[in-house]
């Protein structure tokens, strides 16, 4: 008898839940963890949609490609430009339908499928107490004495590592391998992902770490520490953007559209800077949190379209691998 009551209660509870539409969003762990922007996004969007936003953390594209047409995802949140070509070719995504004139990116963005929500640039971050005079340009970095030690990420396993080899490719072109050969003695080690590198840097193992121009903002805002800075190079910095997209055969097309519009709203854009420690994609500088206004940012931004990047990727990684394997 008791079991029956419990079963009935469960059934009615799930029936009640079924009345609330569910928007399923695939996002990376760094988004959905309680220290990422996920919980805030969920709270803000649920307040306006009368729906239940459910984040599913994990690998984005591999999982989506494995699931194919039968995916539960309505939105994929946090794709990067290294994955957009593959994602576009899968045919799993629909146009976002949002006007792009509000974007405040340093490059022109006209993509109809992938909608930017925040951006940053690759940069070498250093500690002013340890390195009083950082290299003033990429050339300076290449010619710095070999006891200047860097940690970087592997372009074969990390997005920031891939952005770095494309950055070197964009600055040095055919001379990329020679540039890597000059850099090689200064590279203390290469890690699988960003976290390992940044951990080594904050532990004092290296002088500079490959990270983002926005990294110092975390230290300024969360720790009131102004000793971490990004070295700005006149040759330009590689642009890194995070994107959201709507899944074509979503069973919640209206909700998904609302979510895409929400991404560009001022509420979202004002939150994302300190939520994801990146620059909002559609918010003029005046609207940024104070710590972000203090950041040193590059004048020149380098970026390859997904087709260019796909064509150059193997060459760029190979130049890196050959130079560092010697």
């Amino acid at each position: 008898m008791k079991a029956l009551t419990v079963a009935a209660a469960l059934f009615s509870a799930s029936a009640a839940l079924a009345d609330t539409p569910v928007l399923t969003v695939y996002a990376g762990d760094y988004i959905t963890s309680e220290w990422g922007p996920g919980p805030k996004i969920e709270e803000m969007f649920e307040a306006r949609c009368g729906c239940d936003l459910q984040f599913k953390p994990g690998d984005l594209l591999p999982r989506l490609l494995l699931e194919g047409e039968r995916t539960e995802a309505d939105i994929v949140f946090g794709l990067t430009t290294d994955a957009t070509k593959r994602a576009r070719e899968s045919g799993l995504f629909a146009p976002h339908g949002q006007p792009l004139d509000a974007l405040t990116l340093p490059i022109d963005w006209t993509d109809e499928v992938f909608l930017p929500f925040n951006y940053g640039h690759t940069a070498f971050v250093y500690n002013t107490e340890r390195l009083a005079e950082p290299p003033a340009s990429f050339d300076d970095l290449l010619n710095a004495p070999d006891d200047l030690k860097l940690v970087i990420q592997d372009p074969r396993t990390s997005i920031s590592g891939l952005a770095l080899v494309l950055w070197v490719q964009a600055v040095y072109g055919d001379e990329a391998q020679a540039a890597w050969e000059k850099l090689a003695p200064k590279i203390l080690t290469v890690t699988k992902g960003w976290s390992e590198s940044y951990g080594l840097f904050t532990d004092g193992e290296a002088d500079m770490v490959l990270s983002y121009t926005t990294s110092p903002a975390y230290h300024i805002i969360a720790e009131e520490d102004r000793t971490k800075k990004a070295a700005i190079f006149p040759e330009g910095h590689y642009f890194m953007v995070e994107l959201a997209a709507k899944v074509a055969n979503t069973d919640q097309p209206e909700l998904a559209d609302d979510f895409m519009a929400f991404i560009l709203s001022e509420d979202f854009q004002s939150m994302i800077a300190t939520g994801n420690w990146s620059i909002p994609a559609a918010l003029p500088r005046d609207g940024w949190p104070d710590g972000f206004k203090e950041l040193d940012l590059p004048e020149k931004v380098l970026f390859y379209s997904e087709d260019e990047a796909a064509a150059l990727r193997d060459t760029a990684i190979d130049a890196w691998r050959r130079a560092l394997s010697q």
């Binding site: 762990d29 760094y30 959905t32 963890s33 309680e34 220290w35 990422g36 984040f55 599913k56 953390p57 994990g58 690998d59 594209l61 591999p62 999982r63 490609l65 494995l66 699931e67 539960e72 593959r86 030690k149 592997d154 074969r156 396993t157 090689a184 590279i187 203390l188 080690t189 290469v190 890690t191 699988k192 960003w194 976290s195 390992e196 940044y198 951990g199 080594l200 904050t202 532990d203 004092g204 193992e205 290296a206 990294s215 975390y218 230290h219 969360a222 420690w277 890196w320 691998r321 560092l324 394997s325």
Partner: protein, 504 residues
Amino acid sequence: MAPRALAIIAGALVIGLTLGPVTAVILRAEGWSALRPGDWQALRFTLVQATLSAFFSVLFAIPVARALARRQFRGRGALVALLGAPFILPVIVAVLGLLAVFGTSGLANRALSALGLPELTIYGLHGVVIAHVFFNLPLATRLILQGWLAIPGERLRLAASLGLSPRAMWQVLEAPMLRSIAPGAFAVIFVICLSSFAIALTLGGGPRATTVELAIYQAVRFDFDLARAAVLSLIQLGLALVAGLAALRLSRGEGFGIGLDRVVPRWDSGGAARGLDAVWIALAALFLLVPLATVVWRGVPGLVLLGPEVWQAAGHSMLVALGSTALCLIWALPLATRTGEVIGLAGIALSPLVLGTGLFLILRPVVNPVDLALPVTALVNALVSLPFALRILRPEAETIRRDYARLRAALGLTGWAWLRHVLLPRLRRPLGFAAGLTAALSMGDLGVIALFADPDNATLPLKVYGLMGAYRMEAAAGAALLLLTLSLGLFWGFDRGGRVGARA
């Protein structure tokens, strides 16, 4: 059910759980992929580092285990338990701990520069081997120590009354024991090191230290090239199988005959041997415990920063660990045979990424894999821990089966009676150790969770990475300390349970 039937079922489960996912990945990939030029270099490096790492782990473990086997001192039990700790740390935490000692600004280099000596660099092949020895020396030591403790006291007494010299002791008792134990220890460590990649890359200093597992990671997570992932993981599986078979051929132990389970003090431990033993124990303790101490040291300030979600994750991890442990032991008992041990190696030889992807593909048409995040994690952890459990259990299980075969036949002991009165009581020490190791390993593992991650059921290692990814390095260090403490607690609890009353 007949023991043989149970063994066949257990073995078939292992094979099904490894070959099934690979097959699913191959079917999905629809085709094969040729190897790239860089892959051969990766394969060579993988073999070289795994061979060196396993060789040095076992080599150094022999004197340390011998010293621990013949010395009794205060804190010996605690030391033996603590020695297990490096093995169960999440990779990222252990690497940061090692570098706090051996890195450019680590303790070792600071001491050297204070003495006016040149700086040492850890980055390179030697760094990879040092890190792998750090992880695996404790395991090797425990496995070999187990062998030493399994020599019946009666043989030692006989050796003493015959007045055998240390050299003769070595020839008659110790060398034969090592011949039967060491190859298996070498094989299991070789196979773990085969699939190493974050440690190899970070301490190897760059792409020279590319392993096959890195190529698999790239293929699965970055290129979504399943064909390539499948080919590479089959190569890895093949290598592990060869290592397992070779170890099996080499480890022809004779056994020492039956004893009366009495603990007998050793008589060969005076004089110069005493000093040498002390040196080995001190060196091993220093090498293993100083990096651990840095993990503790850096973690303490972060402990106060941990919120309820971290504690909740710790609860999930404990649950998974206990589930894995029960599963693994039930699985291991029927498989504790020579063939069983080779089959068991498949569990750690298969890349966790391919295993995860394959399981996802298999489960997906039936259920939502995310709903099964914790059970799948527990199952995979049990599978991955199985080779260790078998390595620990098999030598003694075989000895018991052989030594008590006559008793068994005479009394007609079967099934439960045999388990309860003969096998389990005699296996108590290795069972405790195996359970401790499985529980601790399961606390630290996050191999397959990438595709199965469930936000409400996250495990503690995932939280450590989450905190690091959000710049919260201090809190991450605190969470890592919590993980270390819980893992060690589980390990110590089970291991101690196995050693109650055994005085060893």
